[in-house]
C-alpha cells in the first residue's frame, strides 16, 4: 500500500512530469529530424547546457528565498572577461584566472546579498542594478576587447578538458558527471544543512524565521553568495565551450537559468524548490533551443515557444498552490 502511494506521489511530482517532458521532447525531435539524432547533437546540447545548469543551481537559492538574481547572466560574461584578460593579456596561469572568475562572482554575490538583506532593497531592483554594473564592468575589465580563452591544443587550454575529453576520435561529455555530482551535493546542502533549511525557511515565512531566532540577514545574504559563486563557475564552463567571450553579451542568460529553475518546480513566490528539479528544467530550455531549429523553426519562434512553456510551468505552480489551500 505504502509503495503504491509512493509511486502515485511521484506522478504528482512536478519534477517527474518535467523529466517525462524532457524525454518526450527528445523523442519528438529525434523523430522529426534525422539530423537531430546524432551523438554530436547530444554533445552540443550538453556543452551548451553546463553554464545554464550552473547558473540554475545557484539561482535556485535566491529564488527559494522568494527573491531573484538577475545579475548572473551579465555577471558570467564579466567574470569570464576578467579571468580571461588576466590569462591572455597578463600571462597569468589558467588556474589563477579561473580562481579570479569565481572570486569575482562571490564578491558580486556578496554585494547582492548585502543590498537585499541588509539594506532591504527589493531583490529584483538590487540585482537589476548589479546586472547593469557587471555588464559595464565586463567591458572595462577587458578594455572592450572580446577575449578568447586559450584555444584547444594551445598552452593553458587544459581547462577545456574539464568538461569534455577526447579519447581517440571520440569526445566524451564528462562535464555532465560534474553537473550530477554538484546537483547531489547542492541538493544535500539545500535539504540537510543549516544554510539550505534556513533558505527554505526564509522563503516560506521570513517573519516566522526571524522570530524563531534564525540569523535571517546572514542566511539571506548567503543565498546570493551561493548564486554568485555558481555564476563564477558558469563563467568557466562558458569560456571552456565557446571560442570567444564578447563584452556586452550575457543579458538573457539569467532568464534561461531562472526559467529552467521555475519549470523544474521552484515556486515563483519562494519557499519551494529543488536542485535536481532545476537541472531537469534547464534541459527543457536547452532541448527547445537546440531542437526547434532542426525542425525548421526560425529564432523568433524558439523564443515564443520557450515563453509559452514558462507560462505553463508557472500556471502549474499556481494550480498546485490553490489545490493545497483547498
Amino acid at each position: 500500500m505504502n509503495k503504491k502511494n509512493n509511486v502515485l506521489s511521484k506522478f504528482n511530482n512536478q519534477k517527474f512530469i518535467v523529466l517525462l517532458v524532457v524525454i518526450a521532447l527528445f523523442i519528438f525531435f529525434s523523430i522529426m529530424s534525422p539530423n537531430f539524432r546524432k551523438y554530436t547533437t547530444v554533445l552540443s546540447i550538453l556543452d551548451y547546457s553546463y553554464y545554464i545548469i550552473l547558473m540554475a543551481i545557484g539561482v535556485t537559492f535566491p529564488l527559494i528565498t522568494g527573491g531573484v538574481d538577475l545579475s548572473i547572466g551579465t555577471g558570467l560574461i564579466c567574470y569570464s572577461l576578467a579571468g580571461g584578460y588576466l590569462i591572455v593579456h597578463c600571462g597569468w596561469p589558467t588556474w589563477a584566472g579561473m580562481l579570479v572568475s569565481v572570486l569575482f562572482g562571490v564578491l558580486i554575490g556578496l554585494l547582492n546579498g548585502c543590498l537585499v538583506s541588509l539594506m532591504n532593497l527589493p531583490p529584483f531592483l538590487a540585482t537589476l542594478c548589479t546586472c547593469m554594473i557587471t555588464r559595464g564592468l565586463g567591458s572595462l575589465c577587458s578594455k572592450g576587447f572580446g577575449i578568447p580563452w586559450p584555444t584547444a591544443g594551445t598552452e593553458g587550454s587544459w581547462f577545456r578538458n574539464i568538461f569534455k575529453i577526447t579519447v581517440g576520435e571520440t569526445k566524451y561529455p564528462i562535464g555532465f558527471i560534474w553537473m550530477i555530482l554538484l546537483v547531489i551535493v547542492m541538493g544535500f546542502v539545500l535539504n540537510h544543512t543549516k544554510i539550505g533549511r534556513y533558505t527554505i525557511a526564509i522563503g516560506s515565512n521570513k517573519e516566522a524565521a526571524m522570530l524563531s531566532g534564525i540569523n535571517v540577514k546572514f542566511y539571506h545574504t548567503m543565498a546570493y553568495v551561493i548564486s554568485g559563486f555558481f555564476a563564477g563557475l558558469a563563467a568557466i564552463a562558458y569560456s571552456a565551450v565557446f571560442a570567444t567571450v564578447q563584452p556586452g553579451s550575457g543579458a538573457g542568460f539569467e532568464l534561461e537559468a531562472i526559467g529552467g529553475a521555475i519549470i523544474g518546480g521552484v515556486s515563483a513566490s519562494g519557499g519551494v524548490g529543488s536542485i535536481s528539479g532545476s537541472l531537469i528544467g534547464v534541459f527543457v530550455i536547452c532541448l527547445l533551443k537546440t531542437g526547434l531549429p532542426y525542425i525548421g523553426l526560425q529564432a523568433n519562434w524558439q523564443q515564443i515557444i520557450t515563453g509559452l512553456v514558462l507560462i505553463g510551468a508557472v500556471l502549474v505552480d499556481i494550480l498546485k498552490k490553490k489545490k493545497a489551500v483547498k
Binding site: 554533445l43 578568447p148 584555444t151 570567444t244 564578447q246 563584452p247 556586452g248 553579451s249 532542426y294 523564443q303
Partner: protein, 362 residues
C-alpha cells in the same frame, strides 16, 4: 522608515555612480576653436571595432582634432545606438562619424543632424535611404562585392563536388542579424554570386531559411527541384552562442558541403559549433568548407590550422582613419564623395603576404 531612507540613499548613490561614469566618457568637450567629432561605432563586441577605433584615434592625434567614440554594448542594441546618435547631435559637434546598426532606425536623427547643420559621414555600413544631403560621404567596404568574393572562392573550391553530386547539396550561411546594411549586403552578395556561378554550370539553386534573405535575393528558386540549397540562418541575438546553435543545425545535415559566416561573430559561431561536430576542413567533398569574414585571433588560427577554408577581411584601421580624415576635410570646406574600401580574400597560403597581413588584426 530608516530602512526606506537607507534604500533611497543607496539607489541615489548607485545612480550618481552611473552618472559620473557617463560624464567621464564624454569629457572631450569643445576646446577653443578645436574641431570636435563624435564617432559612433556599432559596438565594442569584436576586435574589428577595436581596430576601427584605433584608426580613428590615430588619425585624430595626427590632425590634432578631438574625437569622442561611443557605441552600444551589442550590435543588436539598435535603440541604444539611435539614442547615442541623438545625444551626439545635441552636443553640436563639428561632424559625426556613424556606423549604423540599422539601415532605417537613424533616418529621423539624420534629418535632425542636417537641420542643425552637422555633417555626417557613414562608415562600415551605408544608409541607402538617408535624407538627401544628410550623409556627405560613406566610407565602407562594398559589402555586396565582398560577400560575392567569398562566394567566388568557396564556389571555386566546391565546383567539382557540386558537379559530381548525385543528390542535392547544401550550403549554409549564418548572418548575425538581418538589419544592418553591411551584413545584409554581404549575405545577399554571397547568395546572388553563388547562384550565378552555379547556374552558369547548369545547376539550379534554392534559397531557404530567414525570410529577409529569401525575399531579397535575386532568385529564391524552389527547394523541390534544386541541385543546391542555400540555407540562411539568423539567430535572435548577435551572440556567439546563438550563432553557434544556428550553425550547428546546418553543419549537422548530411548534405552540407559549404558554409559562410558573414562577420566575425558569425564565423566564430561556426567555429564554436565545429568544436563538437568536427566536420570542417579543407578537403572538398570529405569535409565541409567554411568561409568566414573579418579576422581576429580565433579565425586566424582556424585558417592557419586548416579548420576554416578562408575568409574575407576588410581594413577597419584604414576605415577609421579615413572617416576622421573625411570629417576633417568637410570641416575645412572641402568637397567629399563616397570612399569605397576593399575586401580581400585570404587563406592559409596568402596570410603572410604584405598586402594582407596588416589587415589581419587580432
Amino acid at each position: 522608515m530608516k530602512k526606506k531612507v537607507l534604500a533611497l540613499l543607496t539607489s541615489v548613490a548607485l545612480v550618481a555612480t552611473m552618472l559620473t561614469a557617463c560624464g567621464s566618457e564624454s569629457a572631450g568637450s569643445k576646446g577653443s576653436g578645436d574641431l570636435n567629432f563624435e564617432i559612433i561605432v556599432k559596438s565594442y563586441q569584436s576586435s574589428y571595432w577595436q581596430a576601427a577605433v584605433t584608426g580613428v584615434n590615430q588619425k585624430a592625434g595626427e590632425l590634432g582634432v578631438k574625437v569622442n567614440c561611443t557605441g552600444p554594448n551589442a550590435e543588436s542594441d539598435i535603440a541604444d545606438q539611435v539614442n547615442m546618435l541623438n545625444n551626439a547631435i545635441n552636443n553640436k559637434p563639428d561632424g559625426i562619424g556613424l556606423a549604423a546598426c540599422d539601415q532605417d532606425a537613424c533616418l529621423d536623427s539624420l534629418q535632425t543632424a542636417m537641420d542643425a547643420g552637422i555633417p555626417v559621414v557613414c562608415f562600415d555600413s551605408g544608409i541607402p535611404n538617408a535624407p538627401a544631403g544628410s550623409v556627405l560621404s560613406t566610407v565602407a567596404t562594398d559589402n555586396y562585392a565582398a560577400g560575392a568574393t567569398a562566394a567566388d572562392n568557396l564556389y571555386a573550391a566546391l565546383k567539382d563536388t557540386i558537379a559530381s553530386a548525385t543528390a542535392p547539396v547544401r550550403v549554409g550561411e549564418v548572418n548575425q542579424e538581418a538589419t544592418s546594411e553591411s551584413i545584409t549586403s554581404r549575405g545577399l552578395g554571397f547568395i546572388d554570386k553563388f547562384t550565378e556561378l552555379a547556374k552558369a554550370d547548369g545547376k539550379s539553386v534554392a534559397v531557404i531559411g530567414n525570410e529577409y534573405f529569401v525575399n531579397n535575393c535575386k532568385e529564391a528558386g524552389s527547394e523541390a527541384d534544386a541541385d543546391i540549397i542555400i540555407e540562411v540562418a539568423v539567430p535572435a541575438q548577435t551572440t556567439v552562442e546563438l550563432c553557434a546553435t544556428a550553425a550547428a543545425t546546418i553543419l549537422n545535415k548530411d548534405d552540407t558541403i559549404g558554409m559562410f559566416g558573414s562577420n566575425q561573430v558569425a564565423a566564430e559561431g561556426i567555429l564554436s559549433a565545429n568544436e563538437n561536430l568536427g566536420v570542417l576542413g579543407t578537403t572538398p567533398g570529405e569535409t565541409i568548407l567554411a568561409a568566414g569574414f573579418d579576422a581576429g585571433s580565433v579565425i586566424k588560427s582556424a585558417i592557419k590550422g586548416g579548420t576554416m577554408y578562408g575568409a574575407v577581411t576588410q581594413s577597419p584601421l584604414a576605415m577609421g582613419q579615413t572617416t576622421v580624415e573625411t570629417l576633417y576635410k568637410i570641416a575645412n570646406g572641402e568637397k567629399v564623395s563616397d570612399i569605397p574600401t576593399q575586401g580581400y580574400w585570404y587563406n592559409a597560403d596568402n596570410m603572410e603576404d604584405a598586402s594582407i597581413a596588416p589587415n589581419l588584426y587580432d
